[in-house]
């Protein structure tokens, strides 16, 4: 089963025994049960598996589990705080920015990453930073609206 690797997911430590080159995605989903992070292509082309590593959006299917050792990882399950949704989650909810919603976790994680580095992104900047996330249902306009709404809410709160 390989060496023991210490993962820190949503603020909790998980020692896992996996071969070091296993993609982080499979360890999160199959071993630790963080199935909110989705498999869509395994090739970094759809964004469904996006998580935050050190606060930045990364495709978990492209990161060997060993490379994620010791770095704080946030999945969609780690966003809710004391029963309150993250403003980006809330904005997706308010805008109805999903249909089948399989892409939603990845969209939310990518959007959070964007809003951490750019508090007031333009539509073009949102489009640019979500270009790697696929939504096959075609909910793009509402996703953009949700990111804008979340940005406004987060600025309000300061």
């Amino acid at each position: 089963m390989g060496q023991t690797i210490d993962l820190e997911v949503n603020g909790k430590r998980y020692p896992v025994r996996y071969s070091p080159d296993t993609p982080l995605l499979y360890v999160l989903r199959d071993e630790l049960g963080f199935t909110g992070t989705k498999y869509g292509c395994g090739e970094g082309m759809c964004g469904a598996c996006t998580v935050l590593v050190n606060g930045t959006a990364r495709r978990s299917c492209q990161i060997p589990v060993s490379a994620a050792a010791g770095k704080p990882i946030t999945t969609v399950e780690g966003l809710e705080k004391n029963g309150a949704l993250h403003p980006v989650q809330q904005a997706f909810l308010d805008e109805g920015a999903f249909q089948c919603a399989y892409c939603t976790s990845g969209m939310i994680m990518s959007s959070i990453s964007l809003l951490q580095s750019n508090h007031n992104p333009s539509n073009e900047q949102i489009v640019q930073s979500l270009q790697g996330n696929l939504c096959r249902c075609g909910t793009h306009p509402r996703i953009i609206a949700a990111v804008r709404k979340a940005a406004a809410k987060m600025q309000e709160r300061g």
Binding site: Y26, K38, I126, V127
Partner: protein, 719 residues
């Protein structure tokens, strides 16, 4: 293992027209209450439904066999919770919300008190499948009827209890109230200790759309919070106890057969179970990696056969059409030669349509579990009962011993009709009884081993007179299918025909089916005729239409788009297309911008007017309409499956391009709510007119006519 027969794939779309067997109510009534607790249950039995309902008309001359009868049932528990049961599946089209609204509206209960159990073959009534935009037109009336009947039962119970005529009582907000005596009793109280089941009478009156209070409102997706928190469990997310991961060894090309098999190295790997049965080879293990490694250690040789490629597909389809002997493939009236003789302008053209993939973001997946010779399969499928029947057939089980459950699924678009991953998972799991096996197709498997929207060749010949009226219309579709094949325009001399061709690639249903191909050819051809007759494309369409609903969507779209528009920049072009299918109407207007120097084409704006009768949930509908427009962009502009000798060459998201954020233009959707018309489905029609509207706009900008799907407009600039 018997060879799998998939009659639905012998001819694209055909299975849509097979009447499915009607066998209802396998769940004994006492079992029903055992499962759900005491309460009142009301059933719509298909036989009754059959008597009352005829299939709503869909366009085409072949629709006589559309299955009309689907049962539904409803349970009111002692806690006042109302549960609706339907064989339809939630695949992102938001039926869970829409049907809950319908029940709440008709039964008079708070929306929050309604639950839906969907697509579980042991709990839900038989259903042919979630396709053909049928959920809204067939399932909402049935839930209306069972809800109205249940309301009647509750009113009678209260009337008896209070010794008052039931017509003096009102049923609102989960309560029966007698205003005269100021008495109130909740549904929960009435139900308590009153377990019984009732079938609905043949005729039940229910509310007209004008009186809806919960339906017709933009209620958000009912379990939306589950999705934004990642809590919802799709099939791919399931991890039942003792679960193993499965993998299937894929042949190198379609139709390849196994000639040698040596698992001596793989067999010795710990915790691995190998399954070899005919050409099927698979493995299960505690992790996908182990299962993968085991299959890599299996030594196999395959025999491959030469097959045709996408480069020669269109000539193949033309040359291999079977002589059509059946009348249902043909529609003729008047005389096309006479009509052509009377024409002032005559146009003949050929349109080619490529194979495209559904590419649902959740790939095909299944969890199969054998216990004591009985099989349960969880999978994202649009046809759980058909999958159950196929599994029963393959494994020589009775239908009662197979249960198929569909977790709300990561989309399908017509692509998840077949048993595929479910059957494979069941074959793998049979080797480890008691241990469930999960099989998730990789993206590459999804692109290769699923089925495609069929390619097609469409030939059109037509003429208009000097006044701009159509005189003749001849339309031949080779292979891609019959949906939306009939012209909605007024013309006396018509010959429409569908030509069957043996399958080249595995083909089947798709959002909009062949209506997208047929509308592309027809609406492009109409545009060419308008240009030849030197008429405005919208005016030309209006002149040849008498269907008021079609005219209304064209007018609404034109108003919003500002048609006719003056060009204000070089390379600007405007186009329009319209259509009607499955009881709904669409008109799409497109603006494109062509930069000849840079060789680029941009869709700047899409405006679409859509009408599907009375709108049940305008918020969900808007999502479906805008979603179809954006999905339609892919098939219109760039999606095409490339294949050669039984191999799919673009089997990755990197090589099969889908619409992404940068491709999305400014979008406007106009939803026309017709409370006087029964609700039709909306999943498909909004995709049909996108491609021809864009192609026509490109012609308007460049005077270059594009006749293939995908349009690939950049290619025509660079050639």
């Amino acid at each position: 293992m018997p060879k799998l027969v998939e009659p639905n794939l012998l001819e694209p779309e055909r299975y849509e027209f097979f009447a499915m067997p009607m066998h209802q109510f396998e769940l004994a009534r006492r079992d029903f209450f055992k499962l759900l607790g005491a309460g009142i249950a009301v059933f719509a039995i298909a036989k009754d439904v059959m008597a009352q309902e005829t299939a709503p008309s869909t366009k085409g001359f072949h629709n006589e066999d559309l299955p009309a009868a689907i049962g539904a049932w409803l349970h009111i528990g002692e806690d006042g919770i109302v549960t609706g049961f339907t064989g339809k599946a939630e695949i992102g089209q938001n039926i869970r919300t829409e049907l809950s609204q319908t029940i709440a509206d008709e039964l008079g209960v708070p929306f929050e008190n309604v639950r839906m159990v969907t697509a579980d073959t042991s709990l839900c009534p038989f259903d042919a499948g979630t396709f053909g935009s049928r959920t809204t037109p067939t399932m909402t009336p049935q839930f209306r009827k069972v809800s109205a009947a249940a309301r009647g039962v509750l009113l009678e119970l209260a009337a008896k209890q209070w010794n008052t005529p039931s017509d003096k009582l009102v049923a609102v907000n989960g309560k029966i109230t007698d205003h005269a005596s100021n008495r109130t009793c909740s549904y929960a109280e009435l139900v308590r200790g009153n377990s019984f089941a009732e079938s609905i009478p043949a005729k039940v009156a229910y509310k007209p759309a004008a009186e809806w209070t919960v339906a017709g409102k933009p209620i958000p997706k009912v379990d939306a919070r589950e999705f934004v928190t990642g809590k919802h469990q799709y099939t791919t997310d399931m991890r039942p106890d003792k679960m193993l991961y499965g993998k299937v060894l894929r042949p190198p090309s379609f139709g390849a057969t196994l000639v040698s098999y040596d698992d001596s190295a793989a067999k010795s790997m710990p915790d691995v179970t190998l399954v070899h049965d005919g050409d099927f080879v698979g493995a299960t293990a505690p992790t996908t990696e182990f299962a993968d490694a085991a299959l890599k250690a299996v030594r196999v040789q395959w025999k491959e056969t030469p097959q045709i490629s996408n480069a020669e597909i269109f000539s193949y389809l033309k040359q291999n059409a079977k002589p059509s002997t059946e009348d249902r493939f043909r529609d003729k009236k008047g005389s096309v030669p006479d009509g052509m003789a009377a024409a002032a302008h005559k146009i003949e053209a050929t349109y080619n349509v490529a194979y495209i993939a559904h590419a649902p973001l959740e790939p095909r997946a299944a969890v199969a579990h054998w216990v004591d010779g009985k099989l349960t399969v969880w999978m994202g499928t649009q046809r759980p009962f058909a999958v159950r029947d196929e599994l029963a057939n393959v494994f020589h089980l009775t239908e009662k011993d197979v249960r198929v459950i569909v977790p709300d699924t990561g989309s399908a678009y017509g692509g998840k009709h077949t048993s595929d991953a479910g059957l494979e998972a069941a074959r793998l799991a049979r080797a480890t009884p008691g241990q469930p096996v999960k099989l998730v197709w990789t993206r590459q498997e999804e692109f290769t081993w699923a089925y495609f929207r069929p390619a097609g060749v469409i030939e059109v010949k037509s003429g208009v007179d000097a006044a701009g009226k159509l005189t003749a219309w001849e339309f031949h579709n080779y292979h891609s299918g019959m949906s939306g094949i009939e012209t909605p325009y007024d013309v006396a001399n018509v010959h429409t025909e569908y030509h069957q061709v043996p399958l080249v690639l595995r083909s089947g249903s798709y959002r909009g089916l062949a209506a997208t191909a047929n509308h592309f050819a027809r609406e492009t051809h109409m545009d060419t005729l308008a240009a030849t007759a030197q008429m405005d494309p919208l005016e030309f369409r209006m002149k040849n239409l008498s269907d008021d609903r079609m005219k209304a969507v064209l007018e609404a779209g034109a108003k919003s788009f500002g048609w006719p528009r003056k060009k204000t920049a070089e390379g600007q072009g405007f186009g329009v297309a319209c259509g009607s299918e499955k009881g709904s109407y669409v008109a799409t207007f497109a603006e494109v911008s062509v930069d000849r120097k840079a060789g680029t084409v941009r869709v700047v704006k899409l405006v679409e007017a859509f009408e599907c009768g009375a709108i049940v949930n305008p918020d969900g509908l808007r999502n479906q309409v805008v979603g179809a427009m954006i999905q339609g962009l892919g098939g219109a502009l760039f999606e095409a499956i490339e294949f050669d000798h039984g191999k799919i060459k673009n089997d990755h998201f990197a090589s099969y391009r889908l619409p992404r954020f940068k491709d999305v233009p400014e979008i406007e959707a106009i939803l026309i709510d017709r409370k006087d018309i029964a609700s039709a489905g909306a999943g498909e029609t909004p995709i049909m007119a996108v491609a021809p509207a864009i192609g026509n706009a490109f012609f308007n900008a460049t005077q270059v006519r594009l006749t293939n799907l995908p349009l690939q407009p950049e290619r025509s600039l660079n050639s």
